[in-house]
């Protein structure tokens, strides 16, 4: 096992297209870090640079104490799980899992032991003599992980390993992955665009956007204290509501006034000077029903009961807003209800650059 350090890592394609703009991340030994971001944010490129499958234009990648920029993939002592699983179609599960050891000319009994051990951990023992095409999606995914485990590498790299599975299996494999990491404690770097996967698996999350790191932190830190509007909108589902307006302070009370005059109450201690243009952010699950004297009015358009909770969509001052309630409500479209943020769970962002105030 080893730490992984990225220092000012950059990737430029064809001399002009910058995919990664100077990323700095330090991942201590044994940590599970998730790189998350929308499509095209550079997360897979960054992972492939760590793996040695992509050249590093600038900066430094260190695995353990060693700089690996110039090392080929095979000498970096990493194992990678691909989105497509990349199982060798002509080899049985056993051969697939033992392939890296075979290439290293490990003794046969060592390969057998390694494969048997990984197969037992992953429940693959009955399938060892099957070809990948005779396995289900979930089983193939396990073989891909088994192949990584057998190598006993310093670092596991996962490139969206669950995105080819159906929703139910994805949740199951997610739990298995977490259990596996708790058991093996190998440093892991995991790429996904699914923020729920990121929140549930990670010790720490790196949020990437347009090749830049937006924020690094523990999942709940990102949820509670997003550094900017992008992170706030990306982390959490349904996404945070954003309403633009101007801060108005008078007699110790503060609110954000929208263009149509709707006033959004700010908690005591909220930042933003009188007259400042801001974006008011509040998560759907942090909205509660209030009476007409407080909060702000929502004109209901759609109500979605999921059983566990109720999602209410509507508009506030012309902007789309979603609210989630634990209780069941049967609002009618066109009805006006009053919403108020719970406690001080309101975020205020600078309207110019989106930074949290």
């Amino acid at each position: 096992m080893a730490s992984v350090e990225l220092h000012d890592v950059r990737k430029v394609y064809g001399g002009s297209i910058t995919a990664i703009h100077g990323v700095d991340v330090e991942i201590p030994d044994g940590e599970f870090v998730v790189l998350v971001g929308p499509s095209g944010c550079g997360k897979s490129t960054l992972l492939r640079m760590i793996a040695g499958l992509e050249d590093i234009t600038g900066g430094e990648v260190r695995i353990g104490a060693k700089r690996v920029n110039e090392l080929p993939a095979k000498d970096r002592d990493i194992a990678m799980v691909f989105q497509s699983y990349a199982l060798y179609p002509h080899m049985t599960v056993r051969e697939n899992m033992g392939f890296s050891l075979r290439l290293r000319k490990a003794p046969k009994d060592e390969i057998d032991r390694g494969v048997a051990n990984a197969a037992q951990i992953l429940g693959l023992t009955p399938y060892l003599d099957r070809l990948p095409r005779h396995l289900s999606g979930g089983q193939r995914q396990r073989v891909a992980m088994g192949r990584a485990i057998v190598r006993n590498p310093q670092v596991f790299l996962f490139d969206e390993p669950l995105s080819n599975l159906d929703a139910k299996l994805r949740v199951q494999m997610r739990t298995e992955l977490k259990a596996l990491h708790q058991r093996l404690k190998t440093t892991s770097i995991y790429v996904t665009h699914d923020q729920v996967e990121a929140m549930t698996l990670a010790d720490r999350i790196v949020v990437l956007h347009d090749g830049k790191v937006e924020q690094i932190g523990a999942p709940l830190d990102l949820y509670d204290r997003p550094a900017n509007q992008f992170v706030a909108g990306f982390i959490g589902s349904p996404a945070m509501n954003f309403l633009g307006g101007t801060v108005r302070r008078s007699n110790g009370a503060a609110a954000v006034a929208m263009v149509d005059g709707t006033r959004l109450p700010l908690p005591a201690g909220a930042k933003g000077g009188d007259g400042q243009q801001v974006v008011y952010g509040v998560r759907p699950e942090h909205l509660a029903l209030g009476d007409s004297g407080m909060g702000f009015p929502l004109v209901v358009s759609v109500v979605e009961p999921t059983g566990a909770d109720t999602l209410v969509f509507g508009t506030v001052g012309g902007s789309e807003v979603c609210a989630v309630f634990d209780e069941r409500h049967a609002f009618k479209p066109g009805e006006t209800v009053h919403l108020a943020p719970k406690g001080d769970r309101v975020h205020v962002f600078n309207a110019d650059d989106g930074a949290a105030l």
């Binding site: 793996a51 040695g52 499958l53 080929p72 993939a73 095979k74 000498d75 990493i78 194992a79 990678m80 691909f82 989105q83 497509s84 990349a86 060798y88 179609p89 002509h90 080899m91 392939f99 890296s100 290439l103 290293r104 192949r147 190598r151």
Partner: protein, 291 residues
């Protein structure tokens, strides 16, 4: 209603052709007629012509027949294997993602796209022992008296093999390029992470994926090579002294009105080689379908 039903039940069941079946037969009939007239009849007629023991006797008595069998074996074995191995190697080059490789592949394809006859005749002209370009240059640059490229058996057969390879190499390279492109790139990346060398990448990923298309190509190419008339006939004409004849050209050599049966017998001689290949080819292709 009841009366009608009773009627039908009482009458003996008469098989009436469904409309679908009728149209199927109508639409397929012209093809069946053409096929019978221009494929089945000539083939059977040829068999009939060449099937008498006498024609085979005449054929086997001809001293050039044994040489022809040898030439054919050498021609097919060397041409097919050399061509396919080179095509396998070249296919690795032509999948490189450089713009100049793309352009080069276009130029490379031209050899295959050019019509055979003028191409082979121009090569024949180039290798003319007396006034051909090659021997002229050999003499001009190295003061070497060039060999009789087309007037000596070994040179002639070698040139015919090279001619055949040059002409059909682009096609088979293209087929194998397609086979290579079908291999997911992830597999190579996974092998890189696993620590595979170049040779191991080929052995464990490329070859297992290409084995089936490669073997199918070898079979198909063997059948076509066995029937390659142009490369030999237009280059050496089967000469000198019929020493470079192959079965495809020998049949034509006998094509005189009094020897047409021997010509057919020569063509029939290729069947023991062709039929098993066709059989295996069909078997392979149907297995691909099942998968």
């Amino acid at each position: 209603m009841t009366a009608v039903t009773m009627d039908v039940a009482a009458a003996p069941p008469r098989k009436r052709m469904s409309e679908e079946k009728f149209w199927a037969i109508v639409l397929i009939a012209p093809y069946v007629v053409v096929f019978a007239l221009f494929v089945v009849y000539p083939v059977l007629y040829g068999f009939w012509l060449g099937s008498s023991a006498n024609s085979f006797k005449k054929l086997f008595q001809d001293p050039i027949f044994v040489t022809t069998l040898w030439n054919t074996a050498i021609f097919v074995l060397v041409a097919v294997n050399l061509k396919m191995l080179v095509a396998l190697g070249l296919s690795a080059f032509f999948i490189l993602e450089y713009r100049w490789v793309r352009w080069l592949s276009v130029i490379f394809i031209i050899a295959w796209a050019m019509p055979s006859i003028p191409t082979i005749l121009s090569v024949r002209w180039m290798f003319n022992p007396e006034w051909g370009l090659v021997n002229n240059l050999l003499f001009k640059w190295f003061q070497i008296e060039g060999p009789g490229w087309l007037t000596e058996r070994h040179y002639g057969l070698t040139l015919a093999i090279l001619m055949h390879i040059w002409k059909s190499l682009p096609f088979w390279t293209l087929i194998l390029v397609a086979a290579r492109l079908a291999i997911p790139r992830d597999l190579y990346e996974s092998a890189d992470v696993d620590g595979a060398t170049r040779w191991q990448r080929f052995r464990f990923i490329t070859w297992p994926a290409m084995r089936a298309p490669y073997m199918t190509s070898v079979l198909l190419s063997s059948i076509w090579t066995l029937g390659d008339f142009n490369s030999v006939y237009l280059l050496t004409g089967g000469g000198p002294n019929d020493s470079t004849q192959v079965l495809a050209t020998l049949g034509v050599r006998y094509l005189r009105i009094d020897q047409i049966d021997v010509g057919m017998a020569a063509v029939i001689c290729a069947l023991p080689a062709i039929l098993p290949m066709v059989f295996f080819l069909m078997k392979r292709l149907s297995r691909v379908d099942e998968q």
